[in-house]
């Protein structure tokens, strides 16, 4: 069974249809890249998978290990192992990163019927992962993402990914707003999480990110559909020729 199956998905925002019948299958262990011009519906797809309000699914299905994802609330999806790394992670003043991480992890564990993680084990794990991501300990004591640089915010997303151990990671424009060094640190963090049990969907406008996170499959989206799929070379081809050809084809 595929980990994620998106079948003929049609999505509206207010009165406008954004996705016009999108189909995508992702298996465990695979890394898929979704590329496409602005407005092609890439972020909409990631939001609908995560359960963000404001999107109306008019047709089609999203199955996660065969279960209907659209029937689940966002927190249920998270507990099942769906993780969206946000393009713009929000700032939450007054909630320390540490408190947030522990609360979220324990909420997921509770939803799965698992016991709460003991504090010493949790702290040890956070320390290990944050060290590997070059996240200073004092950042964890501050409000979630408050005063963080763009790179720090993205690393904080990767930190969560490492702690929550989701089976599907969707990275929405992880490269936006990052310089090359920040991108490399974040990408290294992501690569460390690649595993035969985990799939990733990397959404990006630019090929650049895919130099660091090398995908197994590349999809090109245009005007709310996947218009072409191929191997990692497809990304390079796009870099050379641009999206114009697909915009015409769609």
């Amino acid at each position: 069974m595929a980990l994620l199956e998106v079948k003929d998905l049609k999505v509206r925002v207010e009165e406008r249809e954004i996705l016009h019948g999108l189909t995508l299958t992702v298996n465990e262990g695979e890394v898929h890249a979704i590329m496409g011009p602005n407005g092609s519906g890439k972020s909409t797809l990631s939001h609908v998978i995560a359960g963000k309000p404001g999107y109306e699914v008019t047709d089609g299905q999203i199955l996660f290990r065969g279960e209907d994802l659209l029937e689940m609330s966002p927190d249920e999806r998270a507990a099942k192992g769906v993780f969206l790394a946000f393009q713009y992670p929000v700032e939450i003043p007054g909630v320390t990163t540490m408190n947030f991480l522990r609360t979220a992890l324990n909420a997921q564990r509770k939803a799965r019927g698992e016991s709460e993680l003991m504090v010493p084990d949790f702290l040890k794990k956070v320390r290990e992962v944050s060290k590997s991501l070059n996240i200073p300990q004092d950042m964890l004591k501050r409000g979630v993402n408050v005063g963080f640089s763009g790179g720090e915010k993205k690393r904080n997303e990767v930190l969560q990914m490492a702690l929550f151990e989701p089976s599907l990671c969707i990275l929405d424009e992880m490269d936006s707003g990052l310089d090359i060094d920040a991108l490399r640190i974040a990408a290294d963090g992501v690569n460390a999480l690649r595993s035969p049990k985990r799939a990733m969907v990397v959404i990006t406008h630019y090929q650049r990110l895919l130099n660091y996170i090398v995908p197994d499959v590349v999809h090109v989206m245009s005007k709310g559909r996947v218009v072409k799929s191929g191997g990692k070379d497809l990304a390079l081809e796009l870099e050379a020729s641009g999206y114009a050809q697909f915009e015409d084809a769609a």
């Binding site: 609330s73 966002p74 947030f100 609360t103 997921q108 409000g143 969560q160």
Partner: protein, 434 residues
């Protein structure tokens, strides 16, 4: 007039409320005359209503209607309930002083454990001598009513230079349903004192009761006082409390008020900065639900130069509840170099929730820095979605954001233990909600 009134033939109204209580009110004959005069003032004014500017948002005539009869003395069963309630709400290590239905209960209080620098009398005892504590300059009807009816209170005096290691917790327990209690207390803080005073209002099985409390505080030069008030009266109770605070020079006063109970409540604090170089931090949180009405009104009067005042107020309002914050900063002509700031924010959890913020600056000096800000809004949907996408169910995500919101006021409490205690109260309120 909304009090129960008996009209005599001559047309002069004699209220049942006072007439039926008068025989039970403590004090010398001189005190009785002061009470009668105060009651006449109250009768003339009646309960405050919306046409009185200070009470515009808290129309007691409409919200409360009538003042209930004075509570009778609690019986043994009521005292037992009170003892249980005190146990639940006592702060670990604090020296408890307990008032049951407005009357000091020595048996429930830690009188002997008070530090040697603390002297304690009851209002009752002072009224045997004179009526001094019943006199206030205010022309407010609820304060006049309090002077007329006050049955008891604690009169605390902390000697100059005392550093109290344990907080003093004054606990007001209500055991009598459908009755009123009237208390009036005094706190005299000596020069250079370091102390923490907590006031708690709780119910022990009582329903639909009314509390009218007044506290007169003077803070001596160089003192460092934390004054924390936690009002968690029964959901159908009424609590109207008035504070009169006079602050000396070079004082650090940290005041915090939390409202988590009562159908109708108002805390009105009149804080006068009367000595130079003092710093006032006055903060509060209202957590309101159902049809609760909670009003926090603070008047900070900068009477002398070179004082700093900071006010941080947060309201969380659910269902059809109504929160009021009125903050007035007065800067007298001489009070140059005053630095006064006030920020109030309301979080509306339902479409029918209501917040009224009324900041006022009255500045008569020309070299001052004063400011205020007020906001009201709902929980940020993008923050909620982020938390839900990380696995927090809706109510838990809301709770985390609400805690963060009120945290900005609660974190002003310097003492770790008390701050945790207050956070615990907020957490329990959030649990009640979900």
């Amino acid at each position: 007039m909304n009090v129960a009134v008996v009209k005599t033939g001559g047309g002069r109204a004699v209220s049942d409320l006072f007439a039926s209580a008068e025989g039970r009110l403590p004090g010398s004959p001189g005190v009785a005359a002061v009470r009668r005069e105060a009651f006449e003032t109250y009768e003339r004014l009646g309960l405050p209503h919306r046409r009185i500017e200070e009470w515009k948002y808290t129309d007691l005539r409409a919200l409360v209607g009538e003042v209930l009869p004075l509570a009778v003395s609690p019986d043994a069963a009521a005292m037992k309930r009170a003892a249980e309630a005190v146990k639940t709400h006592a702060i670990a290590g604090a020296r408890k002083l307990v008032l049951v239905d407005g009357v000091f209960a020595a048996d429930l209080s830690d009188v002997k454990a008070l530090a040697s620098e603390v002297s304690l009398m009851t209002l009752r005892e002072t009224l045997d001598k004179d009526a001094g504590l019943l006199k206030t300059e205010s022309t407010d009807a609820v304060i006049a009513l309090n002077a007329a009816m006050a049955t008891d209170g604690v009169v605390l005096s902390i000697a100059d230079g005392a550093h109290l290691s344990a907080p003093i917790q004054v606990i007001h327990v209500a055991t009598a349903s459908s009755a009123s209690s009237f208390s009036r207390s005094q706190l005299v803080v000596g020069k250079g004192v370091r102390a923490t005073i907590v006031e708690s209002f709780i119910a022990a099985g009582a329903k639909a009761y009314q509390v009218n409390d007044a506290v007169i505080v003077t803070v001596g030069d160089g003192a460092d006082l934390a004054h924390i008030r936690l009002m968690d009266d029964a959901p159908d109770a009424v609590n109207v409390t008035s504070h009169f605070v006079t602050v000396g020079a070079n004082v650090k006063l940290n005041f915090f008020n939390m409202t988590t109970g009562a159908a109708v409540s108002r805390l009105q604090g009149f804080i006068r900065l009367a000595g130079e170089g003092s710093e006032l931090s006055a903060n509060g949180v209202n957590l309101l639900q159902k049809t609760e009405h909670g009003d926090t009104t603070l008047v900070v009067d900068h009477a002398v130069p070179n004082c700093v005042s900071r006010e941080t107020f947060r309201a969380v309002i659910d269902d059809r509840a109504h929160s009021v914050f009125q903050g007035r900063i007065i800067v007298r002509p001489d009070a140059q170099k005053t630095d006064g700031k006030m920020m109030t924010r309301a979080l509306l959890l339902s479409d029918e929730a209501e917040a009224d913020n009324k900041p006022e600056l009255e500045i008569f000096a020309d070299d001052v820095s004063c400011g205020h800000g007020a906001t009201a809004g709902a929980l940020d949907e993008s923050l909620l979605f982020y938390l839900k996408a990380r696995g927090l169910p809706e109510k838990q995500a809301q709770a985390l954001l609400i805690q963060a919101f009120v945290g900005e006021a609660i974190e002003q409490i310097a003492d770790d233990q008390l701050r945790e205690h207050v956070i615990g109260i907020a957490e329990r309120w959030l649990e009640r909600r979900s």
